[in-house]
C-alpha cells in the first residue's frame, strides 16, 4: 500500500527557563494508507509532541521544530506556509484529543463546532453543514442527534463528548485520523465503546489512524503496527503481533510485564519498571534507558544505539537485543 505519511528524523524541542527540553529526538515513522499505527510509551516520552509537530500545533514559542521532515502525500508539511497547513488540518488530517471535558468550547453549541470545519473545508452552507452534522452524530452513535445539535458540551457526558470529538474529526472524511490518548480520560466501559467506534469507522471510511496511548492493552486489538517510544526516541517498531510475541527491547518487555493478563495465574504479580525516565533537558550520552535497564552493558552508557533490524519489518534500538531475546524467558503468544 502507498505511504500516506512519512515522518523523517523529526526533532522538537521546548525552550524553557531551565533549559532546552528535548522532547522528540529524531523520530522517524511511516503510515500507509488505511493502516493503524500505535504510538506507545509513558507520559513525556514524546508521543503527543510528535503528532502535534506533524500538525504544526506545537505552541511556538516555547516550542520549536528543530529539524526533520513530515511528508504527507509527498508534501513536506513542515515547509509549507500557514495557509496550506490550515487546509490540511481538520480536512486531510484530523485529530481527537485526550480530554473530552476540556477539548470542546463551552460557549459554542455542538452543532456550531461540528459545522465549522464543514463550512470551511467543504464549502457547505449552514443548512448543508447542519444536515451533515446530524449524520455525523448518528454515525458515532449519539441518540436523537437532531435534537442535540443546539446543546452545549456540558450537557453531554464524557463518553458522549468524545463521540462528538470523533464526529468533528471525521467531518471532512480525513485520510488520517490522529487519536491522542482518546480513551485515557474515560472509564473502562466507555473506553471500549470509543475503541469500537473508531475501529468500525476506520473500516467504513478506510482512513489511516495513528493511535497514541500509554496502555498496550488498548492498542492490542487495534493497531497494525506499533512504535514504542521512550525519551523522545522510537526504541522499537514492529507489527502488532511481533511486539507482543517477540519484544526485543528491554523497555517493551517492561511495558508488557506491567499489564495484567487474563491467562496468567490469579496471584501473578505485575512487574513495574523501576526508576524514572531521563531528564530531557540534560539527555544522557548513551542509551536513554540505561539507568533502568536489566540488560545493560558497558557500551550502553556511552553510545546511544540506533534502530537496527531484528526481524521482518522489526526494528529495535538496543545494543543487546539478541541477548534480551535469549534471556527474556517466555512472553507468551496471543
Amino acid at each position: 500500500m502507498a505511504t500516506l505519511l512519512e515522518v523523517k528524523d523529526l526533532r522538537t524541542e521546548f525552550h524553557t527557563q531551565d533549559g532546552v527540553v528535548h522532547a522528540v529526538n529524531g523520530v522517524s515513522f511511516a503510515v500507509d494508507e488505511g493502516e493503524t499505527l500505535g504510538l506507545v510509551g509513558e507520559s513525556g516520552c514524546g508521543k503527543s509532541v510528535s503528532v502535534l509537530s506533524v500538525m504544526r500545533l506545537i505552541p511556538i514559542p516555547p516550542g520549536k521544530i528543530a529539524g526533520g521532515q513530515v511528508l504527507f502525500q509527498g508534501r513536506d508539511l513542515l515547509a509549507v506556509d500557514d495557509e496550506e497547513i490550515r487546509s490540511v488540518r481538520g480536512n486531510k488530517i484530523a485529530m481527537v484529543f485526550q480530554d473530552p471535558m476540556t477539548s470542546l468550547n463551552p460557549v459554542l453549541t455542538i452543532g456550531t463546532q461540528i459545522s465549522e470545519a464543514l463550512e470551511l473545508h467543504l464549502g457547505m452552507t449552514k443548512e448543508q453543514a447542519r444536515k451533515r452534522s446530524v449524520e455525523l452524530l448518528k454515525m458515532v452513535g449519539i441518540p436523537e442527534a437532531e435534537n442535540r445539535l443546539d446543546d452545549y458540551p456540558h450537557q453531554f457526558s464524557g463518553g458522549m463528548r468524545q463521540r462528538v470529538m470523533i464526529a468533528m474529526a471525521l467531518s471532512c472524511s480525513p485520510q488520517l485520523l490522529i487519536a491522542d490518548e482518546p480513551t485515557t480520560a474515560l472509564d473502562v466501559t466507555i473506553q471500549a465503546q470509543i475503541v469500537d467506534i473508531v475501529k468500525r469507522l476506520k473500516r467504513e471510511l478506510g482512513m489511516a489512524v495513528i493511535w497514541i496511548t500509554h496502555d498496550l492493552g488498548v492498542i492490542a486489538g487495534l493497531a497494525d503496527r506499533i512504535n514504542v517510544m521512550y525519551a523522545g526516541f522510537v526504541i522499537e517498531s514492529a507489527s502488532n503481533k511481533e511486539i507482543f510475541a517477540n519484544p526485543v527491547h528491554p523497555y517493551t518487555l517492561g511495558l508488557l510485564g506491567s499489564i495484567p493478563r487474563l491467562d496468567e495465574a490469579h496471584k501473578a504479580k505485575l512487574t513495574p519498571i523501576e526508576g524514572l525516565p531521563p531528564d530531557l533537558i540534560e539527555m544522557p550520552k548513551g542509551c536513554p534507558f540505561y539507568d533502568r535497564c536489566r540488560f545493560r552493558a558497558e557500551r550502553c552508557a556511552s553510545e546511544n544505539p540506533p534502530l537496527e533490524l531484528a526481524g521482518v519489518r522489526h526494528w529495535v534500538a538496543c545494543w543487546n537485543w539478541q541477548d534480551v531475546q535469549k534471556k527474556r524467558g517466555p512472553v507468551g503468544v496471543r
Binding site: R89, G90, S103
Partner: protein, 326 residues
C-alpha cells in the same frame, strides 16, 4: 430563575437596614453638627439648643432613626439643612442625578472602547514590546491620582498653547483640543463631557485591560483552542469566535457591577469640572454635615450596587450556558 431573583430581593431590605443604621449612627455620633455649621462658630448656645430641639436632634438615637425610616418609607427623605436649606432631599438628588449618570455612562463606554481592545492586543502579543507598552499605560493610568490629572490634563487639552520657533521668530499656537465644562453643563452629547469622562474612565480602562489580557492568555491556553486550530480555522476565527467569547464573560460581570456605580458621583472630577452632579452634592453635604442628604445618597448607592449584583448574576446565566442550566 424567578425564585432566585425573588430570594435575592428579599435580602434587599435587610441589607438596607444595616447600611442605614450604620450611616445614621456615623452621621449622628461623628464629630461636627449641622446646626453648628448653619449658625457659624460664634452662635449663641441657646439658639443652637433651640434649633437642635426644633430639628429633633436632641432626641435619642433610636427615635431619630425610626422617625427617619417612617418618613423615608413615605417617600420623604428629609430636607437639606445647610447649603440647599429646606429643599427636599428627593428633589435635590433627582435634580443632580442626570449629570452624574451621563458622565459615568460616557466614562464606562470610553473605558470599554479603550480597555477591551488594549487588553486583547496585550493578551495576544504577550511578552512583546506591545504588551509592555499596554501594561505601562495601565499602570500609569491607575497610578496618577485624579487630583493630579485634573489640572494637568485640563492644562494640556483645554488651553491654548503658544510656541515660538527661536530661529525664525515664528509663533504658532495650538489648542484648545477640548472645551472645559466650567460654567455650564451641556449634557451627554456635548464635547465638554470628554475630558471629565476620560479622567473618570482611567480606572475602568485599567480594570478592563487587565482582565481582558489575563482572560485572553488563560483562554488561549485552553484545550478547546487547540481543537479549533486543529480544525484548520484561521487564527482570526480562533481568536474572535473561540477565544474572545470566553474571555468576555468576566468582562461582562465587571461591567454589570459598574452599573451600580452609575449613580455614585466622583467628588474630585465633578468638583473640578463643575459638573452639577451627585458627587458635588455629596461633597457639599459631607463638609457641612448635611445628614439627610448623606443618608439618602448612601442608601441610593447601596440599592444601586445590590441591584447591579443581582443583574450580573442573571446576566451571567445568559452568557454562560453552563450556568444557565443549573
Amino acid at each position: 430563575m424567578a425564585a432566585f431573583v425573588i430570594r435575592r430581593l428579599v435580602w434587599l431590605p435587610i441589607l438596607l437596614f444595616f447600611v442605614s443604621v450604620i450611616t445614621f449612627a456615623l452621621g449622628l455620633y461623628g464629630p461636627g453638627d449641622p446646626v453648628q455649621v448653619m449658625l457659624g462658630m460664634h452662635a449663641n448656645p441657646e439658639t443652637i439648643e433651640r434649633l437642635r430641639h426644633e430639628y429633633g436632634f436632641d432626641q435619642p438615637f433610636y427615635i431619630q432613626y425610626l422617625n427617619y425610616v417612617a418618613n423615608a418609607l413615605q417617600g420623604n427623605f428629609g430636607y437639606s439643612l445647610v447649603k440647599y436649606r429646606d429643599q427636599p432631599v428627593g428633589v435635590l438628588i433627582a435634580e443632580k442625578l442626570p449629570a452624574t449618570i451621563q458622565l459615568n455612562l460616557v466614562a464606562i463606554l470610553l473605558g470599554c472602547a479603550i480597555g477591551v481592545p488594549l487588553g486583547l492586543v496585550a493578551g495576544l502579543k504577550r511578552d512583546t514590546w506591545l504588551d509592555l507598552v499596554v501594561r505601562g499605560i495601565v499602570v500609569a493610568g491607575i497610578s496618577f491620582p485624579i487630583i493630579f490629572l485634573n489640572p494637568v490634563l485640563t492644562f494640556i487639552f483645554s488651553r491654548r498653547h503658544e510656541f515660538t520657533l527661536a530661529a525664525t521668530n515664528f509663533t504658532f499656537s495650538i489648542g484648545p483640543f477640548l472645551p472645559m465644562v466650567q460654567g455650564h453643563w451641556d449634557g451627554l452629547f456635548s464635547p465638554k463631557i470628554i475630558l471629565p469622562a476620560f479622567i473618570e474612565s482611567l480606572g475602568v480602562i485599567a480594570v478592563l485591560t487587565r482582565q481582558m489580557r489575563a482572560g485572553m492568555i488563560e483562554v488561549l491556553s485552553e484545550d478547546y483552542i487547540r481543537t479549533a486550530r486543529a480544525k484548520g480555522l484561521r487564527e482570526r476565527v480562533v481568536v474572535v469566535r473561540h477565544a474572545m467569547r470566553n474571555a468576555l464573560i468576566p468582562i461582562a460581570t465587571i461591567l454589570g457591577l459598574m452599573l451600580g456605580g452609575l449613580v455614585a458621583g466622583s467628588f474630585l472630577v465633578e468638583n473640578w469640572f463643575d459638573v452639577p452632579g451627585v458627587g458635588q452634592l455629596a461633597f457639599d453635604a459631607l463638609i457641612s454635615r448635611d445628614y439627610y442628604v448623606i443618608m439618602a445618597l448612601t442608601l441610593l448607592i447601596a440599592v444601586a450596587y445590590i441591584l447591579a449584583n443581582l443583574f450580573v448574576d442573571v446576566l451571567y446565566g445568559f452568557l454562560d450556558p453552563r450556568i444557565r442550566q443549573s
